[in-house]
């Protein structure tokens, strides 16, 4: 009996040390290990599954074309179940357990912030496909050396949302933000700064929490403020509950929001038809990069890619491009190459990473019509 015990212990010890000894990026093999952490399940699983589909497609194409530096790229996926604590653990596991050379993730800003702190600690380059909160790459005015993103920030998106509302001729706006999400609060405050001038007023500024599923009390209050339109910078899980509830209360003014709305579930809602949201790309954009991507994606998955899919795709390709330019599978070299990304022809727009490690990219406003997102207007980077 005792012998069996010690045997088990020995096996455990061996497996632990061998895991601990794994070298970064498995330098001697013919593979480059890249970690991906995403919300494959949980509240915002649509974000994780879409960005993963895009990312897998990109690496598949890259590997089919011979890989990078003569090696194939292997993605190790860790599910964070839409939870910031889980994201932290997932990134630790990717770096210390699997020994990945670089990390791609997350969509939600809160979870990217959790992952970024781990990547900073272990000096592993991290590329976020879609997190828009400024704090993901910049902490108190200091740019995080190892963290990058290939999308615009809340600051820019909130500003554009404000300009869009003014251009639509809406004079009175009601806002409904999630007080527990950095993303929602960031968009809200930047929107308010741009929009609230002269004849434009925010007539109601309501809030809710992640656990809320009934928004009727706030919506009923908003109804009395009689706004021209309602700004909801939240995630689709909240939007899909909130829009039908507003309908029930007879609140029939337009609703609009940010890229958190992007999901097939939003598009399919009756109450979402005619509403607007800003996003990273429009599937109907005629640029060849977009159409090639959309066709390849449709061939593989039999569905139209949403913004998270296109950003996952671009993140993977920017990462592969950086490894190629680095010339070796080395974390520091990849980090340097990422920071020098310039005019990369992405499907979601031309990507240049600036000194704050953000991408300078245009933004589109989409309108939901016939259960599809139609391009309404494009705003260039400013």
């Amino acid at each position: 009996m005792r012998n069996i015990h010690s045997l088990v212990l020995l096996c455990l010890a061996v497996s632990l040390t061998s895991a601990g000894c794994k070298k970064e990026g498995a330098a001697n093999s013919n593979e480059i290990l890249i970690g991906e952490y995403a919300s494959m399940t949980g509240n915002t699983s649509a974000f994780g599954t879409s960005s993963d589909k895009g990312l897998q497609l990109a690496f598949e194409q890259i590997n089919a074309a011979g890989g990078v530096l003569g090696k194939k790229i292997k993605v190790i996926l860790a599910d964070d179940r839409s939870d910031a604590n889980e994201a932290n653990t997932a990134v630790q596991k990717l770096i210390n357990g699997d020994g990945v050379v670089a990390v791609i993730g997350e969509v939600a800003s809160k979870r990217s912030l959790a992952g970024a702190s781990v990547c900073e600690k272990y000096k592993v380059p991290m590329l976020s496909p879609a997190s828009t909160n400024p704090a993901v790459t910049v902490d108190n005015g200091r740019t995080k050396p190892y963290v990058f993103r290939i999308c615009f920030t809340d600051e820019f998106q909130g500003r554009i949302n404000g300009r869009f509302a003014a251009e639509q001729g809406w004079k009175k706006i009601a806002m409904l933000t999630n007080v527990e999400e950095d993303y929602s609060k960031g968009l809200g405050s930047n929107f308010q700064k741009t929009y609230e001038t002269g004849e434009h007023h925010i007539v109601a500024n309501e809030s809710y929490r992640n656990s809320d599923r009934d928004f009727k009390a706030q919506l009923r209050k908003i109804k009395d403020a009689n706004p021209d339109a309602i700004y909801v910078p939240g995630y689709y899980t909240e939007v899909k509950l909130l829009l039908p509830q507003a309908r029930e209360l007879g609140l029939n003014v337009p609703f609009f929001g940010g890229d958190g709305w992007d999901s097939p579930e939003t598009l399919a809602l009756d109450a979402a038809q005619g509403q607007f949201y800003s996003d990273h790309y429009a599937a109907e954009d005629p640029r060849p990069e977009v159409q090639e991507f959309v066709n390849a994606y449709q061939a593989k998955y039999k569905e139209t890619p949403d913004a998270m899919a296109v950003l996952g795709y671009d993140a993977a390709r920017v990462m592969a491009d950086a490894i190629k330019r680095a010339g070796k599978v080395d974390r520091e070299a990849i980090r340097d190459a990422l920071s020098k990304t310039k005019d990369f022809p992405g499907a979601s727009g031309t990507i240049t990473i600036d000194e704050s490690h953000n991408a300078r990219k245009p933004i589109v406003v989409l309108q939901i019509q016939d259960r599809k997102a139609k391009l309404f207007k494009t705003y260039p980077f400013e």
Binding site: T41, S45, E206, R209, A217, R220, K240, E248
Partner: protein
């Protein structure tokens, strides 16, 4: 005035489901002096069962009203069985142990159910919605309907407790457990009945909320907590108390969201809990609870 009426209807409808869950807490506490923390998760199981039945029936093209009836019936039956099993497997073997043991077991059962239902083979962690047809068929009447269903169920429960032999036995067990047993009351049967009835009520609440919002494996935590507080507020062990407590919490919470200054609406829950603490400071045994005299 219009606004107040609307907010009251919303609050009553939200409070009605809290009350339904609170009844289960209060009944179990009445007979066993046990806070069944797994009760919020029974509510979630009701929603999940309803979800599967609803989708199957809508796909088969059954009429909406038949679907709704079948959904509620299936959820009620499954949850009653689940309630029976939880008591039989987890609490009965510990009946004569210190009360803390059963309480910790209750938390264990709750965690077990929550994690079990996050498995993809059973349900998975992703929120899913009822077929939109059901919500569309109910339309604006939904708030009043959920309130009506809850009220009818409470009348039924009161009738059972006050007018039937089982109810009489239930009251006897809750009054003095040992004496009831000596008088020939089959206490095990009464306790099983209590768990099954309470779970069935939670199942109805689960289906109502699933139609109104969506289904998630962790959806039981917060309503469960609020219903527990509702039961304490009304006077734990007291059936009309659970009703009053549940409705009161729903209404207070909604009115706070509706009338609190804009920036603070996200904190309505916190404010409503503070109000509850204040009420309990003044009346420690709850609004309708009788103060227990200390025996020397």
């Amino acid at each position: 005035m219009d606004k107040l009426v609307d907010q009251l209807i919303i609050g009553l409808s939200v409070g009605a489901t809290y009350a339904l869950i609170a009844l289960g807490y209060t009944m179990v506490y009445g007979v066993l002096r046990l806070i069944n923390f797994a009760h919020g998760d029974v509510y979630m199981v009701g929603a999940v069962v309803g979800y599967y039945v609803a989708h199957a029936m809508v796909r088969a093209g059954e009429p909406i009203w038949l679907t709704i009836t079948a959904v509620i019936a299936a959820a009620v039956i499954c949850c009653a069985i689940l309630g029976f099993l939880i008591e039989y497997l987890a609490y009965r073997p510990l009946r004569n142990r210190p009360r803390l043991v059963a309480l910790i077991t209750a938390i264990g059962v709750s965690l077990l159910l929550e994690n079990l239902f996050q498995l993809n083979v059973i349900f998975g962690p992703t929120p899913r919605s009822f077929p939109p047809e059901i919500r569309a068929a109910l339309g604006k009447r939904f708030d009043l309907l959920s309130l009506g269903v809850s009220l009818v169920l409470m009348v039924v429960l009161t009738w059972v407790v006050k007018r039937t032999r089982t109810g009489l036995a239930l009251r006897a067990v809750s009054y003095r457990f040992d004496t009831a047993m000596l008088m020939g009351v089959n206490t095990n049967r009464i306790i099983s009945f209590t768990f099954m009835f309470g779970s069935a009520l939670a199942a109805v609440a689960g289906v109502l909320d699933a139609i109104r919002y969506d289904v998630r494996p962790l959806m039981g935590i917060l309503p469960g907590l609020k219903a527990f507080i509702a039961a304490v507020l009304g006077g734990i062990g007291n059936i009309p108390g659970a009703l009053v407590g549940g409705i009161l919490i729903g209404v207070v919470e909604t009115l706070l969201k509706g009338y609190l200054k804009s920036e603070y609406t996200g904190y309505a829950d916190a404010v409503s809990f503070v109000i509850l603490i204040l009420i309990l400071l003044v009346r420690p045994s709850g609004l309708l609870g009788r103060p227990e005299r200390e025996k020397v």
